[in-house]
């Protein structure tokens, strides 16, 4: 880790929604939040800068990520670091105190839906049922080995991830506005698992496959694991409100031109018509992708979405959504083929 990436310490936020600030300042403010978050996570997770960036994009873009990796590669560390970096400074008086910064759910075959959502419990003192909030009521939820649980629990996650609410006994409970799920699954050890159904997969914005980190980073990990476990170390934190604020700022400041949107639609249509593709991506995937594109653009200091953002995010967004025909292995090639025409249109359009 380079020392200059942790230089920025919490500053008073330029909370100035009222006055008309320029896009640049808005984006700068949002990117500042993102940078601090990223620094916080990078303190704990080494050699995974690209994954961290994507995770932060998903967080700010109001999506969820699915990490696919073998055990011990730092998934949990990543999720935990992120959850702990987002603190609640208690400035919002309206929020309930049962929302926690970070919760982890270990998915097992005998898990029940009420184990994640919460359950009404009979209170003999008041002679009434009152709802005991489940682990979903948190800012960041790590759903570990999500494919090990039964479809019943997985479908309970559907509502939570899609609508940011859970319904128990016909009563709907709202989750936190920042509700962010990092799910993991092991791609190899598939015995006794329940593969995620397509609609469930569609709720995840990105599926990120984590490769082994490089040699230097791995050495770093071994060298510094003690310091990183040291709880007394000063931590960079970001408040929940700052993240929500960055979300708003980016959404307001970063433009998505119509040619970008039509390129997205054309790529989707190309994919659906491709005979190598059994099932193309959903319209929802495109909708979910728009904020992500904005965040990616903002991270690169732009106030407009460009072709580079599509190229960066599209494989992550579509990777788990597209079902290839039997015998077709190379998703990348299919994607490149489908993208070529629309991207050419997009590029030419700038001169028109």
């Amino acid at each position: 880790m380079t020392p200059d990436s942790i230089t920025e310490v919490t500053e008073p936020m330029p909370v100035s929604d009222t006055e008309e600030t320029s896009n640049t300042t808005k984006i700068d403010a949002a990117v500042d939040v993102l940078n601090r978050l990223s620094s916080a996570v990078k303190q704990q997770v080494l050699g995974r800068d690209d994954v961290i960036e994507l995770t932060l994009i998903a967080l700010v873009a109001d999506g969820h990520v699915l990490l696919e990796d073998f055990p011990g590669s730092g998934k949990t560390t990543l999720a935990k670091a992120l959850g702990e970096a987002i603190v609640d400074d208690g400035s919002d008086k309206n929020r309930a105190d049962f929302i926690l910064p970070f919760r982890r759910i270990q998915f097992t075959p005998d898990l029940l839906p009420s184990d994640v959502t919460g359950v009404p419990v009979f209170d003999s003192n008041s002679n009434a049922f009152h709802f005991r909030h489940g682990p979903l009521f948190a800012h960041v939820v790590l759903a570990d080995e999500i494919n090990r649980t039964s479809p019943k629990v997985q479908s309970a996650m559907l509502e939570a991830m899609g609508e940011k609410q859970v319904t128990v006994d016909n009563i709907t409970y709202h989750l936190d506005a920042l509700f962010f799920v990092i799910a993991t699954q092991n791609p190899l050890d598939l015995v006794g698992t329940y593969p995620l159904p397509t609609p469930q997969l569609d709720r995840f914005l990105f599926k990120i496959t984590m490769d082994h980190i490089d040699r230097e980073s791995e050495l770093d990990v071994l060298d510094t694991y003690k310091q990183r476990r040291d709880l007394k170390q000063e931590k960079i934190t970001v408040t929940r409100d700052e993240v929500l604020f960055a979300r708003e700022q980016i959404d307001a400041a970063v433009t998505i031109s119509s040619s970008i949107k039509s390129a997205l639609v054309d790529i989707s249509r190309n994919l659906r018509e491709d005979e190598r593709v059994l099932q193309g991506n959903s319209t929802r995937s495109m909708v979910l992708m728009l904020p992500a594109l904005q965040v990616a653009a903002a991270l690169r200091g732009r106030d407009y979405v460009s072709a580079a953002d599509i190229e960066l995010l599209l494989p992550r967004v579509l990777g788990h959504r597209i079902e290839l025909a039997p015998g077709v292995a190379d998703l990348n090639k299919v994607l490149v083929d489908a993208m070529r025409g629309p991207m050419e249109q997009l590029a030419r359009g700038t001169l028109a």
Binding site: N23, Y304, E311, R340, A347, L351
Partner: protein, 711 residues
């Protein structure tokens, strides 16, 4: 790799078109239009069927042998169907006989070409020798078509000849273009088969070769085949007076392969119809006995009516024929298609005059001949005296000398013994008796075995009486001389009068080379007494070449009327010159407008408003990069492109960012002003100049279409 190679649509179409056109030319002479069309379609069908289907499921599993067997059975089926259509009354009753015939031809040729093409293509696809067979097939088709042109038949094949001649073009150039096309198509076939990447390069080289060939022919003319006739008439023109010793008798040299080859064309300027049914053109004569046989005379006082040299001016015979009241003057223009030793003219030629050659490529020599053509009849020759008054005794003796063989005299005497009393002393009647004997008993044949006898004529006359004109004329001459009649052997051409076919031009072909005996009457001159054997073992008749005859005649005549006709044809059809001019103007206009656009696009950003700068400046820089060979690939994003050209133009990144920000709707309004844009432009231009080679920059300035690549 293989599948990708064969499924390309364009090469497949090109190959299909080439093979189909060779089917078309092959079928032209064998069938009617419907058959040709069917063979074309059938070939296209088969080509696409094989090329696009051979790697797919049903055909992929079939073995080559099976496919060939299937196609052959398809062929048999087609032939059967065609024969059913024509042989049964049902179809002709249903429609019309013509329709059913056409339908049958269509089915037949479709089946033939489709099945053969399937075999060819499958072999070409599956085996490594197959493409050779295919190329050979195409080559043979072209060769067969164009082979009709050989032996001087310049009007053939008619399809091409007629097209060219009505437009005043020499068919040979079109045929050569055809040949070049064939070469290029074959090369294309070869290269498609090898999936050759340097195809355009090879094409250019081949095209250059073909064009240089055309250029050569334009300058130096076509090489003419060395034709020999049976009589030694053709060959190099005689230099001086030296006569050549050459055996006029040849065994089995008289192959009839090129007998139809045109030798010369004659255009009659005066009306003349010979009474004996043949036009005789005398070139020379054998008159002096050299101890073994008759030969060209070495004496200056013999054969003074013959003209032995070509001259540039008018040349006249020193001895003119007599009996002018029985002769008609005939002027004829003669164009020699093959070099001759001496000029020849319609019997009896008295003068030759060189004329301008209307077509150097075609005619070796052209001249006018003036003749005193005989109009006397049979009766006029009776009761005439022999020999010329001013002949010396030596000349008389020369014209009467014959081999020292008493049999000639004995036979001749026996022949005239039967003459009626009033004719016993008449020279012509005696000669006629000899001719009649030869007519009735002689057998015309080219396969004689007399040439190596000491006296071939004696071997012929007293042997099997089988020989050709040379034997007949020598035998007759010897017998005439034994009877005291001065005689010689005239050589030249004899063309049946019917060949003229009502026109004024007459084509002389190699087959018309002839030798005949002549006798001299005091008041008339040399008179031809030509034996015509009634039995013949060889068919020396040829098809009349009326078209070629008329074509060459027109060419030789070179009349203003013919030119007018050609011009009228030209104006009514497409004017080549005009097309060329238009093309030239179009090319020029394209170049000019391309340069205009190119420099406009570079210049305009310096004049444009700031809000258009992002587009125009960026475009101008794209143009400059494209000119040095850097342009965005299809599907490549602008950022990727900027990254790719970073080594050449690092500032392109900045320009791209600014361009994209405005193009993709950035709300950030404090973008660059016009001056900043101009600065960025000049920076990039300098970077490009620094990082590319000089020749690339020079090319960049010259190339008028570089901007087409920037996108």
């Amino acid at each position: 790799m293989n599948a990708a190679k064969t499924q390309h649509f364009l090469p497949t179409s090109l190959r299909a078109a080439i093979i189909a056109s060779s089917y078309w030319v092959l079928s032209l002479s064998l069938t009617v239009v419907s058959g040709s069309v069917a063979s074309f379609i059938g070939c296209l069908f088969a080509c696409y069927l094989i090329d696009l289907g051979i790697h797919r499921s049903p055909m992929k599993r079939l073995r080559t042998f099976t496919i060939n067997l299937l196609s052959l059975s398809f062929l048999l089926l087609g032939l059967l169907l065609a024969s059913i259509v024509t042989s049964t009354a049902f179809f002709s009753d249903l429609a019309s006989p013509i329709f059913s015939f056409n339908a049958a031809e269509f089915i037949k040729w479709f089946a033939i070409s489709a099945s053969l093409t399937v075999c060819l293509r499958v072999l070409a696809q599956r085996t490594n020798y197959g493409s050779v067979i295919e190329i050979l097939f195409v080559a043979i088709a072209f060769v067969i078509t164009l082979s009709a042109h050989r032996n001087g038949m310049i009007h053939r094949p008619f399809v091409i000849g007629d097209y060219a001649l009505t437009r005043g073009i020499d068919p040979s150039s079109i045929l050569m273009a055809f040949g070049c096309g064939a070469v290029l198509s074959l090369a294309a076939l070869l290269m498609i088969e090898n999936n050759h990447r340097r195809l355009p390069y090879h094409f250019t080289v081949l095209g250059l070769l073909c064009f240089s060939l055309l250029f050569y022919v334009r300058l130096f003319g076509l090489p003419t085949p060395q034709l020999t006739d049976d009589l030694g008439l053709t060959g190099q023109e005689q230099a001086g007076n030296s006569s050549q010793q050459e055996n006029p008798f040849r065994d089995s040299d008289n192959n009839a392969d090129d007998k139809e080859a045109p030798v010369a064309v004659v255009v009659f300027r005066d009306d003349y119809e010979p009474l004996n049914g043949s036009y005789y053109f005398r070139e020379s004569a054998y008159s002096q006995f050299n101890g073994t046989m008759l030969d060209f005379t070495t004496r200056s006082d013999m054969d003074q009516d013959l003209i032995k040299n070509f001259t540039s001016s008018r040349i006249e015979a020193s001895q003119l024929p007599k009996a002018e009241d029985q002769r008609t003057p005939v002027r004829a223009s003669i164009g020699m298609l093959i070099s001759h030793r001496t000029p020849f003219g319609l019997e009896s030629p008295i003068a030759y005059e060189n004329t301008a050659n209307p077509n150097n490529l075609r005619f070796k020599r052209t001249y006018d001949s003036y003749s005193q053509a005989p109009e006397y009849d049979f009766n006029y020759l009776l009761g005439r005296e022999l020999g010329r008054a001013d002949w010396s005794q030596e000349v008389w003796d020369e014209y009467l000398e014959l081999p020292d063989d008493p049999r000639y005299g004995e036979l001749a005497e026996s022949l005239i013994a039967d003459l009626k009393p009033e004719f016993t002393d008449d020279p012509f009647a005696k000669a006629w008796a000899v001719k009649t004997y030869l007519d009735e008993n002689g057998i015309y044949s080219l396969k004689n075995e007399h040439a190596y006898e000491t006296d071939p004529a004696g071997s012929f006359l007293f042997g099997d009486l089988t020989g050709y004109c040379m034997h007949f004329s020598f035998a007759a001459t010897y017998m005439f001389r034994s009877l005291g009649i001065p005689a010689r052997v005239g050589i030249g051409y004899s063309v049946p009068a019917s060949n003229k076919a009502g026109g004024s031009s007459l084509l002389i072909q190699a087959v018309h080379g002839h030798a005949w005996p002549e006798i001299y009457f005091r008041d008339i001159g040399w008179v031809i007494v030509d034996p015509a054997p009634q039995q013949t073992l060889v068919d020396m008749t040829t098809d009349p070449q009326n078209n070629l005859q008329q074509l060459l005649g027109d060419m030789l005549r070179n009349d203003a009327s013919f030119d007018d006709f050609l011009e009228s044809q030209q104006t009514s059809s497409i004017n080549l010159q005009l097309i060329l001019n238009v093309l030239y103007a179009l090319v020029l206009a394209t170049l000019l407008s391309a340069y205009t656009i190119k420099f406009y696009r570079i210049w305009i950003p310096s004049r444009a408003a700031t809000d258009k700068q992002y587009r125009l400046s960026y475009r101008a820089m794209l143009d400059q990069l494209a000119a040095v060979g850097l342009h965005r690939q299809f599907g490549e994003s602008r950022e990727q492109f900027a990254q790719r050209v970073e080594e050449v133009a690092p500032s392109m990144q900045k320009l791209t960012d600014n361009h994209l920000a405005l193009a993709l709707g950035s709300q950030n309004k404090n973008n660059l002003d016009a001056a900043k844009w101009a600065e960025l432009r000049s920076t990039i231009a300098q970077e490009i100049g620094r990082n590319t080679q000089t020749w690339k920059r020079i090319l960049a300035w010259i190339n008028p279409f570089s901007w087409l690549l920037s996108k």
